[in-house]
Subunit: 374 residues, 2 copies
Amino acid sequence: MAGERLDPWGTVEIKDYDRLRRVFGIKPFSEVIPKMRELGLPLSLHMRRNIIFGHRDFDKVILEGIAKGEKIAILTGFMPSGKFHFGHKLTVDQLIYFQRELGAKVFVALADAEAYAVRRLPRKEIVRLGIEEYVANMIALGLDPDKTDFYFQTNRGAPYYRLIQLFSGRVTMAEMEAIYGDVTPSKIVAALTQAADILHPQLDEYGGYKRIVVPVGADQDPHLRLTRDLADRLHDLAGLERPASTYHKLIRGLDGAKMSSSRPDYTIFLTDPPDKAIWKLKRALTGGRATAEEQRRLGGVPEACTVYDLYLYHLIPEDNDLVKIYRDCRSGTMLCGECKSIGAERLREFLERHQARLEEAREIAKSIVEPPSF
Amino acid sequence: MAGERLDPWGTVEIKDYDRLRRVFGIKPFSEVIPKMRELGLPLSLHMRRNIIFGHRDFDKVILEGIAKGEKIAILTGFMPSGKFHFGHKLTVDQLIYFQRELGAKVFVALADAEAYAVRRLPRKEIVRLGIEEYVANMIALGLDPDKTDFYFQTNRGAPYYRLIQLFSGRVTMAEMEAIYGDVTPSKIVAALTQAADILHPQLDEYGGYKRIVVPVGADQDPHLRLTRDLADRLHDLAGLERPASTYHKLIRGLDGAKMSSSRPDYTIFLTDPPDKAIWKLKRALTGGRATAEEQRRLGGVPEACTVYDLYLYHLIPEDNDLVKIYRDCRSGTMLCGECKSIGAERLREFLERHQARLEEAREIAKSIVEPPSF
């Protein structure tokens, strides 16, 4: 194995992400890490582990803002149409880091109209999921409800909608089609609404100008490019500035394909009973070899292992512990069965602790988020 | 001239309007006039004179509502991008009639985002025009500011925008293209916004359920059909019901073509100095013959005359006076010069009286309409 690059923070797809970065002009996040150290800012788990692999203007917008003592905000959105899983947690962990470590104001949009258009769920169910599933899990994870502005997209103030309406006059169908391929009225409205989500915290009506960062999966960059263009086009009128963005790798489902609410056997939900979650984990695709003998001889491939993904992104926050697992796997010292037992224990511990907080978090969620009247 | 149909309320284009009605299934307004008489309701000038030539569901929605003592509302919208002219007055007169004679609540939308997208005027100028030109002229014409809800489309409450967002998930691109041909993001948003304008007064947040009528030019029917479909599709969710609509003939410009702010020589604005307005009127296209001798022999053609249009729609509210002018023109007794002198006098009288009210109306407009903050 001499000469082979060993990187406990890497995954097999890193080359694809590098290509993605170069094609779209996203800069490597590693570039800004020295500046963060200069400013005395702690790195988040996802920054340290190269899960956040790219950025646009993170230095110019966010680090410069912090250096100058200006207000910063982080914003994300969720479509409340399924259950909250470890893919969602990846984003929420970033919100919590920005809130606790960098003093950022947090905005969370609940895309209830999009859920209504796309998933065709009853509105009452969408609203219930938004509050009791999404917001409650975020609070239980540690997002401070007093410092977070959770809102349904259909229940925001007029200046927010004014952005949507004015944006509509400054974008062409060709630009929309470049992002969406075949467009529909709901895709157009959803895209303009997302741009308003990202940019409206800069308006006086929402606390006044602040520098904004949006943490997204690599596949979301087209939205960011549209939003940057719209900020430029409404700069003079509404004082909008381009947001920064960071790009994270996507955590895979337990079969190695997409993690999604619609694939519940391969996706661990934060409300799964621990036994059920562990049952899913025990069946997960690993980087193991065909036989135990072969694995002892050649070692496993953590980069190909979906359980290792869970460790890297979520379950093993201590870097030393993770490095040990990585090495023991690569060296063939630890086989998948033993490793999964460690995972099962960590998962049970995490879920029990999280779920113990969930009931209170639900009550808080219900008391702070205003549901749309229909 | 024996056998020829003589109709002081007719115009040359009536045949086109009849065809329009038949193609789209709009019913003749004359059908509902006996029911209005039964209910003891006075007819408006434009109803009496067949300017309102068609309707959809006016009997089922509005007359039935009045008979049952239920709340009714009338709604219209203006794009504040030019000066207020006699074409606009045609709609406002209908609002005033509904407000005074039928006790309807009046809603007036100011389409400021559309003006921004289409006319590319500075936002401040759009807002100024909306308040000081459109709303002020409407109040000076007699619309009761205490009983009228004037609003900018970019400055309305969340439930109104919620309709726009939910509508976007229940309409296809094909439907949009059937209305607009080539669509753009701003046309899509504007169309959904118009539907929200028409339907939002039914929501609890805007005073609770009421029956709604929309007075439009014949060319606006596609919007109404879309709005009716959207009402059906959100009936169960938001309690929306189809609106009624009435259809009026369009008053022509002074050259016989379209009346429009962008054609100021052929359009009389309600803020034109009387001398300037009279100068326009004196140059207007009439139904006169090539020579005075010929006109005395054959008579004029009021149906072809744009000055007669002004009398019919606006300047001569007394039916007897209008019938006399019609007959004197048809018989060749009165030639165009004499007739235009009558018109000039009426126009001066109207504009002087209107403009005397305008300054106070502007102050009222500024005090009641909330301008968008950007």
